[in-house]
Every structure is written in C-alpha cells, then in structure tokens.
Amino acid sequence: MDSGFDFDVIQRSLPYLFKEGMTFTVTLTLLAMTGGIVFGTLLAMMRLSSFRPVSVLAGGYVNLMRSIPLVLVIFWFFFLVPYIGAWILREPNPVRVGTFWSALITFTMFEAAYYCEIMRAGIQSIPRGQVWSGYALGLNYWQTMAQIVLPQAFRNMLPVLLTQTIILFQDTSLVYVISATDFLGAASKIANRDYRLVEMYTFVAVVYFVVSYGLSVLVKHLQERVAIIK
C-alpha cells in the first residue's frame, strides 16, 4: 500500500538536522539559560532592593518583557541590535550581528524576566533570620547573598528554573522568523525543498516531545536529590 509518504527523507537529512539544526538549538538554549539566570538573578536582587529607583527600574523591565509577545521581541531585537552595536562601537553603519548572536541576546534578555520572577520567589522563600545571621557574623550584603541566600534559593527553585528552560528550549524554535537554521528551521528547509512537509514536521514534533518530556522526568528525579534537609 502506497500512502504517499516518504519517511526516508528523515534518514537522509539526519546529519544536517542534528549537526546544523539541533546544535544551534541546544547551544542557544544553554547559553540563553546561563545568561538568563545570571541576569535574572541580578534583576531579582534589584527588584527586592529597598532603594526604590532600582526596584522600579527592574520591575519595569520585567513587566515590559513579560507583556510583549516573544516573536515581536525577536524581530525587534534583530533589527535593533545592529544599531545599538553601531552606537556602542561608534561605527557609522549598523553592525552585522548575525542571526545566532541576535537570537542569543534576545533570548537572554527575554528569559531573564521569567528567571527573575522565579529567583525572586526563591530569594523570598529564605527566612529573614538567615540573612540576619549572615549579617550578624559580619558578612556584607554580597557575601550574604552569594554564600547563604542564593545557594538556598537556587536549590529551592532548581526544578522551576529547569522547567522554564524546557519552555525556553521549545521557544527557541521561534527563531525561524529571522531565518535562523535551528532544528525546526533546518527541518523546514528540507521539508520545503523535498516537499515532505508532513514527514518532517511530524519528526520534528516527535523529537521536541522526546527531549522535553525526557528532561521533565529528569527534573523530577533531580528535585528529590538536591532538596536541602530541613
């Protein structure tokens, strides 16, 4: 029986899909996660600052990012970053940034807003007495944060941070709007070239599902292992 489908196209394009596409997706996810958590943690500390201008600034940034659709931010940064680069480097013409760097900056900035809210909840979950006891020993604000509050907040929030990263992993597929060759982008190119849309998109969906679901199961196990004995 000839169904009219040709799943061989997947096998033929595997090297391209994974070497080009998946590498892009995974690299982007990991780097944006790292940058996003670092920047997000700083934002969270700013949001919790008792110095109002700082907390208002951070709050404004987070609310702005969380109120704009991601696709729009990707577009916006893609066209804006070259001009910002030119302004910083004092070049007369827009700087060529490339899709990867543009996407990385976008996702770092965007995800930071979400990681910020997670870390803010994490920091607030640490009893005030812990901070007091750090201060009472003579630690300053940064030492208390780095040694006492953040390690605990980070552990408490690790499952949520990783869950957010799984969402980030899926969201990186939106870089197709700036014609980046991520996993979906690579599959899309093959699909259109060979006119095998159903086969390719089905395969992509399966891969996204397997990776995302597998990671979420892993997160669950990890959660039990890193819990702080209380």
Binding site: P127, W132, S133, Y135, A136, L137, L139, Q143, I229, K230
Partner: protein, 242 residues
C-alpha cells in the same frame, strides 16, 4: 562595652522602642525579660544594627552603631549573636557553618578556621557531628553549634535573642549549660530570655521591658528580691509561680 542612650524606634507610626537607656559593662551578664511584644528582641537587634532605629545612640566598644559612616559588617563581626531559631545555614555542613565567616570576614585560612571551629565544637560537645548538616541535628544541638559559630569569631560580646524559646523542654538545659559556662568565663553577654533560673544563676543585672520601654533595670538580687515596678512584680509572679 555596650551603651544605649535614649533609643527609640518606630515601625511606621507604631512606636516599638521608647527612650531605652542602659549599659552593659565588660564582663557583665545582663538578662532582658518582659512579656512578648515588649520590644526585647527588637532592642537586642538594634545593638548590632540588624534593626535600624530612628532616635538615640547605641555604641559598642566606643563605635556608634547608628552612624552611617560605621563599617557595620566589621562591627558585627566582633559581636556574636545567637537567634531563637538557630539560623544555621542548612545547605552547609556543621564545619562549614563554623568556618564560613572566619574565612570570608576575618580572612583566616581554611585550616586555621577549621581548627578553631572544631575546638569550639568540642567545647559544646558535638565533635561527632562535624560533618552532618544542621537538619540532621536536634534543636538543642543546632543551638550549641550556633553558639560555637558565634564564638569562633572571637567576639568581644555575645547577644542572645531568646536562645531557648524554640527548644523542647528537655533540650533547654544543654544550651543553658553552655551559656552558664560562658558567663562564668567572663564573657560580656546580653541575653533576652524567659529563663529566670539562668538569670538567677549568672546574671549581674536584669532589665524588665514592657511596651517598648525599659521599666526596670536593677541588680539581680534587687530585681528578684522586690522589683520596684508593679508591672515587673506581676510579670515575675506569672512566670515564677508554676
């Protein structure tokens, strides 16, 4: 050593401390008691600047706590503090709890800090637990580690904020024993507590607070003999007669 002059503090419009004046001399053990909500804990947290105050002056070893120019972390590193809920760092082993501030604040080497910490751990009788996490210890054990942690900084004075209030009755004495030993060695101590037995045994002075004010500040014998204020008499009769 510790001197408070006319200290007042407000939470918004609510006055929690009102004109508190007292002094703790070197080697003195001063017990602060009073009903809950009387401002005892707030007062003791003002002494090392954990709580800001709006009026008056507090000096520790001649250094003003309220002065914005004061290097508070440095000053705090010289004053030990023990909290009601122990506040050991749950993500670190007992040994790391003991060494963290010695290394980060005093700049001691890890070896030196570990030696010092383990010496004090032995003193509170918990050497066997050095590699455990705080969550694996009982409340009394945690509080003894907390005292050792504060002592590891070689403090010039110790502040205790209701150190036995969160403990099961059978664990109170193991903590009080450590505190009594410390007092007998001549450590300058300011202790917020309801343990009148402790006060009788080692205190030089007793301060009674109510409604954010220091109502009574008397030598121990005088205080337990016959407090001058009616409020303190009532309080004593309530906590001593059962």
């Amino acid at each position: 050593m510790i001197s408070l002059k006319n200290v007042s503090k407000w939470y918004g419009g609510f006055k929690v401390l009102s004109g508190c004046t007292t002094e703790v001399k070197k080697g003195d053990v001063v017990v602060v008691c009073g009903p809950s909500g009387s401002g005892k804990s707030t007062l003791i947290k003002c002494v090392n600047g954990l709580e800001p105050f709006q009026q008056g002056e507090i000096t520790v070893d001649g250094i003003s706590v309220g002065d914005p120019k004061t290097d508070l972390p440095r000053l705090r590193s010289r004053i030990g503090m023990v909290f009601q809920n122990f506040e050991l760092f749950p993500h670190m082993t007992v040994t790391s709890n003991l060494t963290l501030a010695q290394v980060k604040v005093l700049g001691r080497s890890l070896d030196e800090a570990t030696n010092k910490g383990l010496g004090l751990l032995e003193r509170v009788g918990l050497t066997a637990h050095k590699d455990k996490y705080p969550g694996q210890l009982s409340g009394g054990q945690q509080q003894r580690v907390a005292i050792a942690r504060a002592l590891a900084m070689d403090p010039i004075a110790m502040l205790f904020d209701e150190p036995t209030s969160a403990l099961d009755p059978e664990m109170i004495n193991e903590v009080l024993d450590v505190m009594v030993a410390l007092a007998k060695e001549g450590m300058t101590m300011m202790v917020v507590t309801h343990e009148m037995g402790f006060a009788r045994k080692v205190a030089h002075r007793v301060i009674f607070m109510d409604g954010g004010e220091i109502i009574e500040d008397a030598a121990k014998d005088e205080f337990f003999g016959k407090p001058r204020s009616e409020r303190a008499q009532q309080f004593l009769s309530k906590i001593l007669h059962h």
